[in-house]
């Protein structure tokens, strides 16, 4: 699919007659990247689907305010990141359990998840990631799996590049120690 520029999407969205088409293009262009970003955080497919829908609903309602001081993808990524954090926090509140137990639940669910095809080492990696604080897990995912630049991650999370580098290398150390223990 030929990608359409941010400018063109915004212009078409501003026009009532082309709004739905423009938004459809936006969804087609970014749904996969956003989905996988979400999925790596919330792990379950159905939960990821819910979060992704919420992200695009919010994007639809806010796109008329988009000022192009960043790329649309960065803006969407930011929304998706916030929705992931909100989802995980709500999950903790809903079940009245500390976050550690929620992570244990997520880890257990992964072992029986029909939509998880990873081998043993990949399972261990996911379990190791669940021991990290949410934000550190986000940093690791965005750097390691999504291959984003530190400057891009900084814009999404609002954290300095230096802090991100430190967080990422610390995460790598924790993951290494976790996997080696098993």
């Amino acid at each position: 699919m030929e990608e359409i520029s941010d400018r063109e999407i915004v212009d078409r969205f501003a026009n009532a007659t082309t709004r739905n088409d423009a938004f459809n293009v936006l969804v087609l262009q970014y749904q996969k990247r956003l989905y996988w970003h979400i999925r790596k955080m919330v792990l379950d497919h159905d939960d990821s689907d819910d979060v992704l829908q919420n992200v695009f609903i919010k994007a639809f309602n806010a796109l008329h305010n988009f000022r192009e001081d960043s790329k649309i993808f960065t803006w969407l990524y930011k929304i998706a990141t916030n929705e992931c954090i909100t989802f995980l926090n709500n999950k903790k509140k809903r079940f009245f359990v500390p976050m550690v137990d929620v992570e244990y639940q997520l880890s257990q669910n992964l072992e029986t998840d029909a939509y998880f095809n990873g081998d043993r080492i990949q399972m261990k990696l996911q379990q190791a990631l669940l021991t990290l604080p949410d934000k550190q897990r986000l940093v690791f995912n965005m750097k390691y799996f999504d291959d984003l630049k530190y400057e891009e991650i900084s814009e999404i999370l609002g954290t300095s590049v230096g802090a991100l580098k430190a967080s990422y290398h610390h995460a790598v150390k924790k993951i290494e120690d976790f996997i080696k223990q098993i």
């Binding site: 996969k32 989905y35 390691y144 630049k149 530190y150 290398h169 996997i179």
Partner: protein, 149 residues
């Protein structure tokens, strides 16, 4: 593909391969799903707004009738321009407006009122004379008129 800051101390076997998968056709169906959901959300916003508008026709009719009534009252109950001189004077004194008027203004008004009064008196006198002249010309006895009344 070389990644910058590639961590080289992750255990062997760890890689960037995606271990997750999605149901078949998920991404093909998702755009339609989200379009339907947005349409539903907009529909529910319209319905909520429509509920507020339900009494609007009745209100519109009531507002129209009230407007017609007020306008009609203003048109057909226009206060007369001709105020009695006594009424004007009384109002001016009672409301303290007299204190706001300069001597010149009061004198100007008095001259006007006198002129107006004179004009009315002269007009009235003129009509009386015309009637009297007619009666004389036609040789009508005024007592006959009185007896008829």
């Amino acid at each position: 593909m070389k990644h910058d800051d590639t961590p080289d101390n992750l255990p062997d076997g760890v890689n960037r391969e995606n271990p997750f998968r999605v149901p078949d056709g998920y991404f093909d169906r998702f755009p339609n799903k989200i379009a339907e959901r947005i349409a539903e959300e907009n529909q529910s916003k319209v319905i909520r707004f429509a509920v507020l508008l339900k009494p609007a026709p009745l209100l519109a009719i009531a507002a129209t009738l009230i407007t017609i009534a007020v306008v009609s009252y203003k048109i057909f109950n226009k206060p007369t321009d001709a105020f009695d001189q006594d009424e004007i004077s009384t109002y001016v004194y009672q409301e303290g407006i007299i204190d706001e008027l300069s001597d010149e203004e009061i004198l100007d008004y008095s001259d006007y009122a006198a002129a107006d009064s004179t004009f009315k008196k002269s007009t009235s006198d003129s009509i009386t004379n015309t009637i009297q002249n007619y009666l004389v010309d036609e040789d009508v006895d005024i007592n006959d008129i009185i007896n008829e009344m």
